[in-house]
Amino acid sequence: MINPVSYWRLKDRYFNLVGTKCKKCGAEWFPPMRVCRKCGSQEMLDHQMPHKGKLLAHTLMKETSEEFKASSPYVLGLVELENGQRLLAQIVDVDATGLQDGIEVRLTLRKMAEDSKKGTIYYGFKFTPLP
């Protein structure tokens, strides 16, 4: 279960897909790597990933964790960004039945969950095929 402090630390990662980039070999990583998986360098810089990608696979989720029940059912997608890094994100503005893999999708910020009606609202990245 996410908490407000952890969420605050992760803002730029969630709002702008800021991962890390290896100073030595240029490889980009999201989720962020502290040590470059390609060349082993420990000199990593924060770096924004492309906000566009391709849908590799998706699943319509009928059963979800408690925090996400309010949004259920939803489509969870495996997205490959333009730089080859992959991530999981809900796919919005689509009808699950007609959804084709391979389509271009882009980042959009949406509400992920909230800590009750009087708690913190957690925003994060989802992906949409709309321009």
């Binding site: 803002k11 709002f15 702008n16 949004s71 919005v92 910020l109 992920m112 609202i121 989802k126």
Partner: protein, 343 residues
């Protein structure tokens, strides 16, 4: 109000959610028949709110403007996700802006044009180079109330900056206010209250007419000097009525009239009308925009479109395209989306 130096719009972006509730659904559920004055209204999905929509429109505006720094991020809305905690700082974070003046503005449906007014002043004074003004709402109507036909979600954002780079310049603006309590919400109340037909002549019409007439005199123009006119649109009829009354013609207002398809996006309403008008405007066109906010007041602006609009516009998403991409929902799904099923 005339800015001391040249100020204009560097970029703009609108956003409307894809879901539409036909007003016949509201009629069906509450009256067994009938529909609202508008055909459909735009409804935000459960995971959308004023911030998420503001983010979409602001990112579009910033992309069109091509700026990397914003000296101000001002969000005008009456449906803030947090009553205490600014939406503008969440938006500023999402836009990567930290050294900026961020504030949430409130004045019912005129909060967006207020954000525009302040940005014009900040740029004109040289205090900032460019700033963002957004007017956005996830308007809620009390279930069963007539405002439920029209209360909708959406809005538009504008990057305001120096005239040399603008796609449209601000010639002048005017503001007119009075304490007219036509529509309000007390703390702790979930939905607003209003005085029915009183929201017409003494509120909407009086403030827009008074403001625009004064504005036209200050700026020294007649309605026929304008190519386009945009008015706040709480329903399909009011903006046309006030426009005609002020001496404008139907063709001037056409591109900005969106209420029939998406309803009233409150603080987003006149700004969306402006965005839709800019989507078709040509260099040299003069545009009048007049907003109205309950409580009450009106902001009027005269803008002149420059030749930069042709190329800049290509970087955006036309408002009409966005409106056409729609998915109908019924009253039950709408209720779930808008959280009306749980207290």
């Amino acid at each position: 109000m005339k800015p001391n130096s040249s100020v204009g719009i560097l970029g703009y972006g609108a956003y409307v959610p894809i879901f539409r509730l036909p007003t016949s659904e509201v009629g069906r559920v509450w009256r067994g028949e009938g529909a609202g004055p508008n055909k459909e209204k735009a409804v935000a999905h459960h995971d959308e709110d004023t911030f998420t929509m503001a983010c979409e429109m602001a990112r579009r505006a910033v992309r069109m403007a091509g700026v990397t720094k914003l000296g101000a991020v001002l969000v005008g809305t009456e449906s803030k996700p947090y009553v205490v905690k600014p939406t503008s700082t969440i938006l500023a974070q999402a836009l990567g802006q930290h050294f900026a003046l961020a504030a949430d503005l409130e004045f019912a449906c005129k909060a967006g044009t207020e954000a525009m007014q302040f940005n014009i002043a900040l740029v004109a004074s040289g205090m900032i180079q460019a700033g963002l003004a957004a007017g956005v709402d996830t308007a809620q109507g009390r279930p069963g109330d007539e405002l439920e036909y029209t209360a909708a979600s959406g809005g538009a954002a504008f990057v305001i900056g120096r005239g040399e780079e603008a796609l449209a310049l601000f010639e002048r603006s005017t503001s007119y206010v009075s304490d007219t309590g036509d529509f309000w919400r007390r703390p702790g109340e979930k939905f607003p209250s209003h005085l029915g037909r009183f929201t017409g002549e003494p509120a909407y019409f009086h403030h827009i007419e008074t403001c625009v007439r004064a504005h036209l005199e200050e700026v020294g123009h007649k309605p026929s000097d304008y190519r386009w006119a945009v008015f706040h649109q709480p329903n399909p009829r009011f903006p046309v009525e006030v426009g005609l009354k002020l001496g404008f013609k139907m063709e001037q207002m056409e591109p900005g009239l969106l209420n029939t398809m998406i309803g009233n996006t409150y603080a987003g309403s006149s700004l969306m009308g402006l965005a839709a008008t800019l989507d078709v405007a040509e260099p040299g066109d003069r545009i009048l925009m007049a907003s109205f906010g309950s409580g009450a007041g009106s902001d009027a602006f005269t803008l002149i479109v420059t030749d930069k609009i042709v190329e800049k516009r290509k970087l955006g998403v036309p408002v009409r395209d966005m409106i056409d991409r729609s998915v109908k929902v019924d009253y039950a799904v709408y209720s779930r989306f808008r959280g009306k099923l749980y207290e």
